[in-house]
Subunit: 424 residues, 4 copies
Amino acid sequence: MTADDLVSLRRDLHRKPEPAWREFYTTARIVDELEARLGDDLAALHVGPAAIAGDHRMAVPDDAELTHWYERARDAGVDDDVLERLEGGYTGAVAVLERGTGPTVGLRVDIDALPRSESDDPAHRPVAEGFRSEHDGAMHACGHDAHATIGIGTLEAVAESDFSGTLKVFFQPAEEVVGGGKPMAESEHLQDVDALLAVHIGLDHPTGEIVAGIDGFLAVAHVEAAFTGESAHAGGHPEQGRNAVQAMATAVQNLYGIPRHNDGATRVNAGVVEGGSAANVIPDEARIVAEVRGETTELMEYMKRRTRRVLRSAAEMHDCEVEIEIGAEAPSATSDQALVSIVADVADDTAGVDTVLERDELGGSEDATFLMRAVQENGGTACYVGVGTDHPGGHHTATFDVDEDSIQHGIDTLAGTIERLGDR
Amino acid sequence: MTADDLVSLRRDLHRKPEPAWREFYTTARIVDELEARLGDDLAALHVGPAAIAGDHRMAVPDDAELTHWYERARDAGVDDDVLERLEGGYTGAVAVLERGTGPTVGLRVDIDALPRSESDDPAHRPVAEGFRSEHDGAMHACGHDAHATIGIGTLEAVAESDFSGTLKVFFQPAEEVVGGGKPMAESEHLQDVDALLAVHIGLDHPTGEIVAGIDGFLAVAHVEAAFTGESAHAGGHPEQGRNAVQAMATAVQNLYGIPRHNDGATRVNAGVVEGGSAANVIPDEARIVAEVRGETTELMEYMKRRTRRVLRSAAEMHDCEVEIEIGAEAPSATSDQALVSIVADVADDTAGVDTVLERDELGGSEDATFLMRAVQENGGTACYVGVGTDHPGGHHTATFDVDEDSIQHGIDTLAGTIERLGDR
Amino acid sequence: MTADDLVSLRRDLHRKPEPAWREFYTTARIVDELEARLGDDLAALHVGPAAIAGDHRMAVPDDAELTHWYERARDAGVDDDVLERLEGGYTGAVAVLERGTGPTVGLRVDIDALPRSESDDPAHRPVAEGFRSEHDGAMHACGHDAHATIGIGTLEAVAESDFSGTLKVFFQPAEEVVGGGKPMAESEHLQDVDALLAVHIGLDHPTGEIVAGIDGFLAVAHVEAAFTGESAHAGGHPEQGRNAVQAMATAVQNLYGIPRHNDGATRVNAGVVEGGSAANVIPDEARIVAEVRGETTELMEYMKRRTRRVLRSAAEMHDCEVEIEIGAEAPSATSDQALVSIVADVADDTAGVDTVLERDELGGSEDATFLMRAVQENGGTACYVGVGTDHPGGHHTATFDVDEDSIQHGIDTLAGTIERLGDR
Amino acid sequence: MTADDLVSLRRDLHRKPEPAWREFYTTARIVDELEARLGDDLAALHVGPAAIAGDHRMAVPDDAELTHWYERARDAGVDDDVLERLEGGYTGAVAVLERGTGPTVGLRVDIDALPRSESDDPAHRPVAEGFRSEHDGAMHACGHDAHATIGIGTLEAVAESDFSGTLKVFFQPAEEVVGGGKPMAESEHLQDVDALLAVHIGLDHPTGEIVAGIDGFLAVAHVEAAFTGESAHAGGHPEQGRNAVQAMATAVQNLYGIPRHNDGATRVNAGVVEGGSAANVIPDEARIVAEVRGETTELMEYMKRRTRRVLRSAAEMHDCEVEIEIGAEAPSATSDQALVSIVADVADDTAGVDTVLERDELGGSEDATFLMRAVQENGGTACYVGVGTDHPGGHHTATFDVDEDSIQHGIDTLAGTIERLGDR
């Protein structure tokens, strides 16, 4: 792919960000691009239910939401045959390239967007250059548009190289809700992978920097709490209400107050809250969508335990009920030194790369860890690769953007590593 | 109207509840019914912008919301000519009956529903008898469906009586958001009213009880606060966020903690809250829709002052900005004894009425007070009438319903009072 | 007593304020004064355990505290014989005057101070004129120094009048902690009282105003909560702590947020809190001393129920235990019209009184209600009398003070009423 | 010193725990013991103001408190001459031993106790064996009684060895309030120290383990906030109060909710809180004694900044004023490898030591860092040594205790290291 091709594909995906399990347009666009570029060269192209272990999907939205995004993708004019295979929120794809004898190498890229609005500041490049999100309330604020592009670019580059072996590229849905890693890890496609690479752009590293081996993933769990109280006329009978919003506010205050832990980093965030129906009604319903993290799985469990206690007591304080759902979890993982060394070595020779770090700490979470652990448990190796990019706003913020030059750095480093991993 | 007519009309309105400024179907249905029953008997029928002083509307929803409900009303098959006159959220109507010389008597009924879901318990009569709300998230949980029906029934009853004078029935929109009372009070139609009656069903009084003169309205103000912070990756850089949900939760906790006042009753309710976009993003936006009340206007002002302080400080605590809008307010009011006595007298002779109370305290708010005060300031008199009805759930709750027998009690008492007020 | 005597006695008491059950100096001083002025004229003078039903004492401080104040009183040089009768916190006195046949009239005055510091502002009269509290952390901030003075002055005035009957003056301890009313109401001395007067100075009424019949006492309950968690090194192992201060803070926030009640006024106050031992230790102990009030006993019970729930849930939220003690309670009460009329009538003729109000609402609480109810249940009558006084600061604040002229108004009104109540 | 001497001295100190700047008995006892054991062997013994740079003292209690403890020490019968030199809270001592040419080696031990109660559980060894704290509300819950003993024991052991050089033992007061490290670091005595050792017992390491080089000290700052509002009668005029306890509770809730930081560990603790005067008075005063920590000085500054914001906004929310004092701070520090290696080497040969760790992370704070940094800035080296001890309860808890066998391990390791550091 030419530099223009890469930019053009990435921007098309950026314009149409789709959150978890709603990547209908995105998946179809990827399939389209792969077929156009590689066509019969691919040994297989598994799409939707054929790509993932559907039973393991986590944090799938309701039918109304799925339908809304499905129809929007149809309206955008994607291939109906592909689209129909994704119905019900079975998104994602696995592309397989077979090039003679040799090991099976995997590359995992995630493709979902975030449910947040993009900046409309004229200085924000997607605005200035006309590729801002067309989907109100959704945005590629974590660079997965670039990841999908890197996946396709790497596949093409390897296809054109002397690589000997099998390459599988996993286009994984629903990373942001920790929902897609497990079903992809449980799919049959991962079982025979000998070496797995995963990639992330940015992470506060500038353009020209490659990180061989990112560790320090925080284990994470998604938590949803639904408080139910009793409504009453707020003027006439406030005492008859059981106020779900008071319970929710008490919970939020105390969730953020869960004690820090001496064994390592912990996190908690009440990322989405809502409650009540009208100003003059004592609210009988409220909801918190939260997540907790820990530097180890034990620390994440500590946070979960404390979170449950806070939620239950807050409900009880205001005579409400609460239903707590622990939605999706991911473990932590570590990169294998053998792979780290190869990636570092290749990166050193990659054009445009001026700094190569061996190992760095993430401080965030990633459900790529499901795939890494699965491969490692089968006796394989895994490595998480960071591709630096100058990003004006932080990850998950309204002004996040990538320096598109870095897409090529990622493709070169990954394709070079994969070629090296093949039989000689 | 026969008893069956009353029930059938009320249930039709109950099935199609429309919240403030969205009473498109409701207004059209009322106009339809009036034209069918009274036709040329009416001296005038002012609809939509012709019925209210549009500049004074408060708490009008945004265009997307208005359009959604407008289209829904169209789909339900109402008269397009009427509907078009309501476009942009100018709902409500004023019907005028002229019957020779005599005073101008006003009757005000409100017609809007609440933005809350109705119970689907099979024991809830609207479910059992098939007239539960067809609009998800909206419900006639305060009896305004019965009020509209009483308005039409009373008009017809007076038309058939010996009444001498002019009767104006004000079908007022947007009472629940304290939004319609003022624009109706400011319209020219109210200027010449000599005696005004307003009516409410229920209020914890049983079927067979009439309250002549409800007082103790709490002054009320609607408050909206929008918090803006800064988002950040909740795992990667929690310290870079400025958390709008933490600000909101702190505000909620402290709003409910505003000190009680020795001069009389006060109220505060954070009736609707929401914030954040995703579990893994530090929330940069949150909102509170609240209301405060006071037994006097001074007490309401005290609550407003304290509310502003809480909102501002909560924002500052989490380094957020907050925009505060005081959306709509209503004063308190008192019923005039002259009218109270007539209503009580008539009620005593009304079939089905077994108890008549002179004066009772409401403990809630009502923007009928705008109309009552306007008439009183012009030298007229006003009286707020309560019509008892057995209601299984409290006002504003999911199981609220009215005993339909009481509709006739309301019509008889009001029509009888109006007739008495006419010239002899 | 001359005006100078009254001022001098009141100021002496003001200088030596003693909180509940610690009125050692105060009681001894009263006894002293009574013996000096009335001596053998008194039929009886019951002191300490002889004055109250000791088993019913509530909110008695611990021995160390009692001893501290006892020694301080001894050091101040009071009569050792009297002092010894008060040992263990049995304070208060009942003086009996018999003057022939006639009814038994009671007068109840309270004598305790508040555990709060007095202003040292030079403009505060007790500072300017040298009678500021000599007891750090204690202050007569509610006028009980004046009450005690009125009690003695009234007794002397009645003794010198034509009164025919029996007068008992109850010098009641521990009103501020709702602790002394019940033991005095349960003592034998109250059993034969036919008409009871109680008196309070100030209450936002100016000098020259008398209120015949104060009602609207809020029922009150005293609540103490002791939270126990587990300490830990705040730097080394914050996660091992169970933080009693977090539990306490959560409770305080939610106590003030208990919903207002439509049936009438409610109150809650976390008046004293404390917790923890050192900045670097996760606090394992915290305490709240609170009170709740209600316009009726039912409303007070509602507040108590909600308070318990808040305290229990706050403890649970932070994995702490909590012990809740409901310490002392007082009911509400109403003045009898027969007495109200006499007081008003006498007040009308009292020199210096320019305004007489019949009935007013207090909005506070008073354990005089125990005595009033006891007398009323025995078939007697009771009346609570307000004596206006210009007070620069509000009751219970650091700058509270009384206009000493009003002491005479109180004595004249009460003595006049008592004389009228005697046989003729 | 024999094992019995060590135990006996440590237990004597344990019985008489004295918090920061109140170590009157402790200092006098140390001076006494040094004079008895070493007498004229000492080149100098600097006591009180002569030992520290008094201007740099932080977190000194008020005069009443100092006097109370001073008198208590006098009553316990210590040498009046020594005691008088400590007046005003100038505690601590520096003992100097000169043994020919060679480097100046420093040993720093801290001597203060914590303001917390000791367990009275019969199973707690100090209870069982009769050396529980005799001072209510104070306890050696962090082993400084053992540190002082180690300081004396090491001095004696070095005096009896072949050490060539100068040894200074710094008996530092007020470590627990981060108050004594700076004044000792600023004293002239530290200026010529070439190598500094500091020691701590326990820290979750078992008896028989020595840690050569503890790092990971959290920088710490002590924060005090005094809220001032306005009192009012809680029943009569709650609206007139400005509630300092509500402000405090809001602050506590939000202090613990300060966002975690991705750059490393942070801590916050509201270790002591108090407010209000009586249940029926709206509280006009409240106080928080807190501390914040950070893995780096920058992180501690981040916590301080956020803490200020929370405190100020909480005050403003309840219309209160707040005075914030940042009382005492300590930086972080690192042990030098040269010293670490020697300590490890000596420990390996120490009787009773079965495990030697090179380097461990503390996760707490220590104002020994002031002394370590001062020596390092002068070109010297420093090392913080951990002496394992089986401790049943955690540091700062009511059941903390040390295994007295470990005192000898500390003395042997330190004295051995010091001897090695001397000229050969």
